[in-house]
């Protein structure tokens, strides 16, 4: 089999996951996209292991071992990630990540719901937030 097939598939899957991470609003969908990216990497690891174990007579099977580790770490990640999302949801009542803008310029940390009435701020950010929290 040509190595290009799995490599290109992995690249495309990775970019699909990338798009999901950047474009999705719900934090859990973002986590799913992260899973897609991790799996793209796994596909690469497996494909290159299959190639190198023949060509370079690699008996360590490092690609497969790393793929396994990645799967395990992905599982741990998804657990922690979901726990964080749940905690955020419990505190904020939402899991939309574009509403979690506590680090925005001029954000009032004590009162996340009343940014519009807060200090006079650069109009776009404050306006968007007011819209989002209204």
């Amino acid at each position: 089999m040509h190595l290009a097939y799995p490599a290109v598939l992995a690249a495309l899957l990775f970019c699909t996951g990338l798009y999901g991470v950047l474009a999705r609003r719900n934090a859990i969908l973002v986590l799913m996209s992260v899973e897609l990216m991790l799996n793209a990497v796994n596909l690469n690891l497996v494909a290159f292991d299959a190639w190198l174990s023949r060509v370079a007579e690699d008996t360590l099977h490092s690609g497969q071992a790393l793929a396994l580790f990645t799967i395990a770490i992905a599982a741990a990640e998804i657990g922690i990630g979901l726990a964080i999302v749940l905690a955020v949801y419990r505190n904020r009542g939402t899991s939309d990540i574009d509403r979690l803008r506590d680090t925005a310029e001029g954000h009032d940390p004590d009162d996340p719901d009343s940014d519009a009435t807060g200090r006079a701020l650069p109009a776009p950010a404050a306006g968007e937030k007011a819209e989002a929290t209204a």
């Binding site: 990338l18 991470v21 979690l100 506590d102 310029e105 650069p122």
Partner: protein, 664 residues
Amino acid sequence: MTTTTLAVLVPLLPFLGALAGLLLGRTAPGFARPLAVLPTLASLALAATVAARQGGGGPVDAASELTPTGSVPIELALHIDGFAALTAVVVGTVATCVQIYSTGYLRDDPRYPSYAALVSLFTSAMLLVVYTGDLMVLLVGWEVMGICSYFLVGHYWETPEARAASLKAFLVTKLGDVPFLIGLFALAADAGSFRITRILGAVAHGGIDHPTLISLLLLAGVAGKSAQFPLHTWLPDAMAGPTPVSALIHAATMVAAGVYFVARLLPLFEASQAAMTVLAVMAAVTMTGSALAALAQDDIKRVLAYSTIGQLGYMTGALAVADRGAAVFHLLSHGAFKALLFLAAGVVIHAAGTNSLAAMSRMSHLRDRVPDAYWTMTVALLALAAIPPFSGFFSKEAVLGVAEHVVTGHTEHAPAAAGWIVLLAGLLTALLTAAYATRLWLLAFRGSGTEAPDHGRQPLTMTTVLWVLAVPSLAFGGFAFRALPDWFDGHDLTPTLTTSVLGTGVALVGGIVTYATWRHTTAYAARVPLGAVAAHPEADAGQVEAEAIASHEPAYGDVAHAADPADPGRLLLGRLHRHAAVGFHLDAVYSALFVRPVRAGASLVRFLDREVVDTYVRGAGTLPRWLGAAVRRAQTGNLQTYVSALLAGTVVLAVAAVLVATGA
């Protein structure tokens, strides 16, 4: 101790006293008075010793060069001839009198320690100027005097008059000091040395290439320091300072420095006919103008200030006809009687509670309240008016005699024109001097009206000093004119018959005319009530004077004169009175020539700074602000935006790295 050591100690002792006074004044005020009086007194004793040892013989010269200072060496040099020795004695005497007088005059003043220390420093600087043989060292003393006069004239800095006067004194003298400094450098460049002896040697051998230019530059500084026309305007305003300071500045120190400086370098000025003529014109304008102005002043101290300017005009006149002996002779006798006049005026102001002659002329029995001041001031005024046999007569006759000497054909040292100018102006001024002296005496002591307030006897420190100074005012001239030529250049200082008769005659005419006018005008005094008296008659003299100065303008409408129809000067001067009262509008001229252009320049600079420079500054600030606004807009708090930017950057970097690695 050698004469040199003693001479070094003369300026050093007051300097150390000033230093100690400034250091201890706040922590140990009890030491302030001894620290003020004793070093000055010791300095006087040493100066007298030095004078006795020098004895009019050859000059004592000593020099030590501390460190090489470039092409023209600066040396700590002494050059004590007869002029220096005697001038130092007068400076020491007047300074000692002033210090003793001040202990009484400012006895309750909280700033007395710093005041006394500054007076000591002032004295020390003047003694340095007198003794030094190096022009750079002289310049140090010269400038120290300038700054001390600034502080001392501004002693009552609570009053706006004193603040303005101190600034004016400083700025006007600095206006002269700049050309003075340039002249000094030019002189040193020509002569190759700052030593007075070497410069005079170079002058004698014709080694000075630009004597006219240098002389005129130096004259500017002399005019500023010695209050000669046109830089004299600071001196009348300096009356806002305490009376002892006025006495010190006017009698012996600051204003004498300019005359003394010219006397020292007279051969240099003689080398330029133009400079001598300028000096003569300056002296003539100064003495006549100031005498006219003195006749119109209402403030007793301003009368004396203008008289100082006039007497300094006599001195520069004597220098203009190339006789420094006469100039320094007049300097010495004037130092004595002018110090006496000022100190006595201080007593009178304290007793009367006002500095206005118009108010004094409406008080009777003022002379009974202050008999010491009355008698000593009478002596001093007679000396000022040059009535024989008082000392002023002899010194003034010396000046007039020298001028007559030049006029009659002895023009080897000075141009005949200078002689004529000085002689005629001197005679006219003698007339006017007698007139304003008489006017001062009549208005101050022959007043009629309400009885002067009685504040008890004046402090002994103040009255004793008056009698001490009355002695030289009375007798110095008569005894000295025979002995002084041995100390000076050897020129005869004996009064000549012509000028004596002429001078005394015009003086008597002036006095009698003024008396007659006064008899005529004094009847008006009762009809026009005038007067403002200090509110704290029991306070010390300094405070009374400060209040008198501060209240003069609100009471009479002007700081200098009062609209008093009983004033004989008004009748004598006629239409000139209005102009003379304000010093012939010279302040207005200065205001138009210098103050307004400087103000306009300042507002232009302000405009340029605010509107032009700041525009660039604000413009420079705008770009970062815009950038900051743009960057702030990027801080949305949205993680996805951040990660998008991060990954976009990563992609760009990765592509760039691939391109570079593949050599594309």
